[in-house]
Symmetry: C2
Subunit: 214 residues, 2 copies
């Protein structure tokens, strides 16, 4: 089985935005409330950040449960890692996730400003400047035979879709409009020339869109 590049549990608004406008340290999703996009995931038993027992075990849980499985590395854009732009002014910034990031694998962070790697628990962030194809090559090597997750954000997803490197993609569409911000698409139908698409409404109110290559 070959290694796949997979997008998992990426949340967008009904008008196609994956994040709002104006990202900052306090507002990783800009003007958007991340709960609007991702509370469906937080309600599940398998959500990686869950601290108490319990949680739902219906359809949504299959998606959060699947997230870590078979994944050996993640690729993310710099803006998923943090709010700084341009040359790094604060090297003490180590991502949004505290001392135990939920990745548990190598994470390749795409940036024009390379900096030394950071290891936190069993996650190592490596900062590389590379084309999507070259980043995927390095990520597959780091993943040691497993699949690679494409973590986002929107600009990173668009770049890898543009380069036709994405094999499967799960996007959750929340019943909320953002109006502005980082837009993944005008409509998911844009991708139908290259992908199969199943649309699966969930009891939680989101609709799961499942893409895989034709």
């Amino acid at each position: 089985m070959s290694q796949l590049l997979r997008v998992q549990c990426f949340g967008v608004s009904s008008d196609g935005f994956g994040a709002g406008e104006g990202q900052s340290l306090d507002r990783p999703f800009g003007h958007a409330d991340p709960a609007d996009l991702l509370s469906w995931a937080g309600a599940t038993a398998s959500w990686a950040h869950r601290t108490d027992p319990g949680g739902t075990r219906g359809l949504d849980d299959y998606f959060t449960r699947d997230m870590p499985r078979g994944i050996g590395a993640e690729i993310m854009g710099r803006n998923k890692f943090g709010p700084q732009r341009g040359p790094w002014e604060d090297l003490d910034w180590k991502g949004w996730w505290g001392d135990t990031p939920p990745f548990h694998t190598p994470v390749l962070v795409l940036t024009h400003h390379v900096r030394p790697s950071i290891t936190l628990s069993d996650t190592t962030f490596r900062f590389i400047e590379a084309t999507p194809a070259e980043a995927l090559r390095q990520a597959k090597e780091a993943a040691d035979g497993k699949d690679v997750r494409l973590g986002g954000g929107v600009a990173t997803l668009r770049a890898f879709l543009e380069a036709d490197l994405v094999d499967t993609m799960h996007v959750s569409v929340a019943p909320v409009e953002l109006g502005r911000g980082e837009r993944l698409w005008s409509t998911p139908d844009e991708l139908l020339d290259r992908f199969h698409l199943e649309s699966v409404p969930s009891a939680s109110g989101v609709t799961h869109l499942l893409f895989w290559r034709r």
Copy 2:
């Protein structure tokens, strides 16, 4: 996280039958055509018996992909293991699955006629006479901290549901009537006093029913 007892990808007809009448060596599902109940699973990329590449990666694939993950043992009834009844007359019978069964864990086969264990590749079938509660205790021990799959057939599912030992259950309902055979339920609503239920229609034509404890 405690160990769960889970039913996965168990197929029934729209009138609630998990197998037809008249099981035999040539007809493991009796008069029923197993493809009517389970072809949705066979079409997915992650189906354990797939021999060629390809297959779908939509909703149905999440269910087949989830099957082996986190499972450390299976419990099955004798009639899932084979068509013989009463004392074993043919000890050469080693199950329907050939030299490489798809379980890859210990499998506890419930029977009133205990016989020596059989190891085929990385699957070991152990034959035990036990109540559901005692079988579950032994299976959890064999599963080494992982979850236990309750594999079927219908009579075994019913016995474990009756004993209130099932934690989560995924049943696929196919758009076909069998009329007679081994019946799981008259209606899934029978279980609503003890379980949450989500009903998820799939593009393949089956409806996935997802139960988890209240």
